[in-house]
């Protein structure tokens, strides 16, 4: 037991000493890791930001059903209940004729000619049921329900999800789908590339010192005693690179926020990105540490393996 502890402490201290003695190699390897880890984290944040931007746009999309003035309260309530039962409906809001008028007046307060067209006594605006769908891709089922003959009979006009508006909504939905998928693909691609680059970097660092491995092997050192310090060293690379990449993004979103906003040309909602980063700071730190340490350790184990093999060929 005591011997094992001595061995473990030797492995750790040797790894740490090697890290210092191979400072240049360490810096080069860590620089690569910092850059790749930062890119992945940034793409993750950018993806979340884009998704949020898309969501704020699609959130504004709803379907309005305009009711005839003669539709009674009971009929109207039954319709609302039926709509609420549809699987793709998130919520339903009823806007009465009076409410519609109030909103119209408020919206057009500075255009008297538009206000002149309406009045309390002669309200041309219909009562409206606003349907907020759950999934914009499945508007067809709501539409088909609203197109039933008995329900069309209650409507003063076609629903807002018709003709040109329908086309526009479908286009927005389609683009949103593509953008979201592209974002996920980009994050995955960056993550895969990062794993490969980090693996390669560690492999090169170990290739540089393959003689050490074979010497230790010849002197009769066990596999874990040879490999241990290299794993420790790679874990230090990974951990430091993770912390530096987090600090880099922190300074980007916090210290250089204004210049970032100026250069992003409004493509990226920096305000949201910065908040998202700040809210998830500890998550991101843990994630980067986990990824850096895990990839570092795994690649050093794989990379040392070939130099530790015994000759089996006769």
């Amino acid at each position: 037991m005591k011997r094992k502890l001595v061995t473990l402490s030797r492995i750790i201290s040797t790894g740490a000493v090697n890290f210092v003695r191979n400072a240049w190699l360490a810096i080069a390897a860590m620089a690569v890791m910092v850059v790749t880890l930062s890119i992945v984290l940034f793409s993750l944040i950018a993806n979340a930001t884009f998704t949020n931007t898309i969501k704020t746009i699609t959130d504004k999309i709803d379907i309005s059903v305009y009711l005839k003035d003669e539709v009674g309260v009971a009929q109207r309530n039954k319709l609302i209940t039926d709509i609420k039962k549809l699987p793709n409906v998130e919520r339903v809001r009823f806007v009465s004729k009076d409410d519609a008028l109030k909103k119209y007046i408020a919206d057009h307060a500075d255009s008297p000619e538009l206000l002149a067209a309406v009045s309390q006594t002669d309200n041309p605006l219909p009562a409206t049921i606003q349907i907020k769908p759950k999934d914009l891709n499945k508007l067809a089922d709501i539409k088909s329900f609203l197109s039933k003959d008995d329900i069309v009979a209650l409507q003063s006009d076609e629903t807002s999800y018709s003709d040109n508006r329908k086309e526009a909504i479908d286009k927005i939905t389609h683009s949103a789908n593509i953008l979201e998928r592209a974002g996920v693909i980009a994050v995955v691609v960056f993550a895969v590339v990062t794993v490969l680059i980090i693996f390669n970097t560690i492999q090169m660092a170990i290739f540089n010192r393959r003689d050490e491995l074979t010497i230790m092997r010849l002197l009769g050192a066990s596999t874990s005693y040879i490999r241990g310090p290299f794993v420790v060293e790679s874990i230090i690379y990974g951990a430091l690179a993770a912390i530096i990449s987090i600090l880099l993004l922190h300074s980007m979103f916090v210290l250089w926020r204004s210049s970032l906003e100026a250069t992003s040309l409004g493509l990226l909602d920096i305000g949201y990105a910065a908040t998202y980063f700040r809210d998830n700071f500890w998550h991101f730190l843990l994630m980067q540490l986990g990824v850096g340490i895990l990839i570092g350790a795994a690649s050093s184990i794989v990379a040392t393996r070939r130099y530790l093999k015994f000759k089996t060929k006769k």
């Binding site: 001595v6 003689d211 050490e212 015994f310």
Partner: protein, 226 residues
């Protein structure tokens, strides 16, 4: 202690490095292996440390049959044999002290004992005061002596030395030979390869001559004429 029975090593079909070599070395014996470069000396030593595997024949060292040796036991075998490599094989990132201490660390020796043992051995090879140097800061002869210190620090039963005087001036060469003789007197079996006629002639030990992968002579207390 060392037994080779009709051992053959071929690296590929065309070249045979060792051709049916049979050799028996008694415990505490001091054997010098001579032969020109390419004769097969290094291959012989590599087989003994299990750096290479024999193509055919039997090798038994210290009671261990190499054919029955599992991979995980190879480190244990190597810990029993001290080796001075021709090219030293020092760890470049470690100091003189750490290089010698490494041989003790891998067998799990405690720190206090290491701090006690290593200076003694460095004293034997005349490297006192250079404990903190890195291998690159040392001369060829000094590196050779670090390699020897590392090989003998574990007091192995068998010591294999591949041209340990190759890079040394005569005075240091004799110092090294004196160290080898000394640990041989303490009971270590020594297998030494050399080119140095003078060393062979003065030692007056058993001399095994290898030519073209075969043992051409094996004489006790012999002299050597290259």
């Amino acid at each position: 202690m060392i037994l080779l029975d009709r051992v053959t090593k071929t690296y590929n079909r065309k070249s045979t490095a060792l051709d049916r070599i049979s050799l028996h070395v008694e415990p505490k014996e001091f054997v010098i292996v001579v032969g020109q470069s390419g004769a097969g000396k290094s291959t012989l030593l590599k087989l003994l440390t299990r750096e290479e595997r024999q193509t055919s024949g039997k090798i038994i060292v210290g009671g261990i049959d190499y054919d029955k040796l599992k991979d995980k036991d190879i480190p244990l075998l190597r810990r029993k044999i001290g080796v001075v490599f021709q090219d030293f094989k020092l760890l470049p990132n470690r100091t003189v002290f750490e290089n010698v201490a490494f041989a003790l660390e891998i067998v799990g020796m405690g720190n206090r004992e290491i701090r006690h043992t290593v200076p003694k051995v460095l004293d034997i090879v005349n490297l006192k005061g250079k404990e903190k140097r890195m291998p690159l800061e040392l001369s060829g002869g000094e590196r050779q002596r670090v390699a020897i210190a590392r090989a003998i620090v574990r007091q192995p039963k068998i010591l294999i030395a591949d041209e340990p005087t190759g890079n040394l001036d005569p005075k240091h060469a004799w110092d090294v030979i004196a160290v080898l003789e000394k640990i041989n007197r303490y009971g270590t079996t020594v297998l030494l390869t050399t080119h140095n006629q003078e060393v062979v002639n003065k030692l007056k030990r058993r001399v095994v001559t290898i030519e073209h992968g075969q043992i051409v002579s094996d004489r006790a207390k012999a002299a050597y004429n290259a």
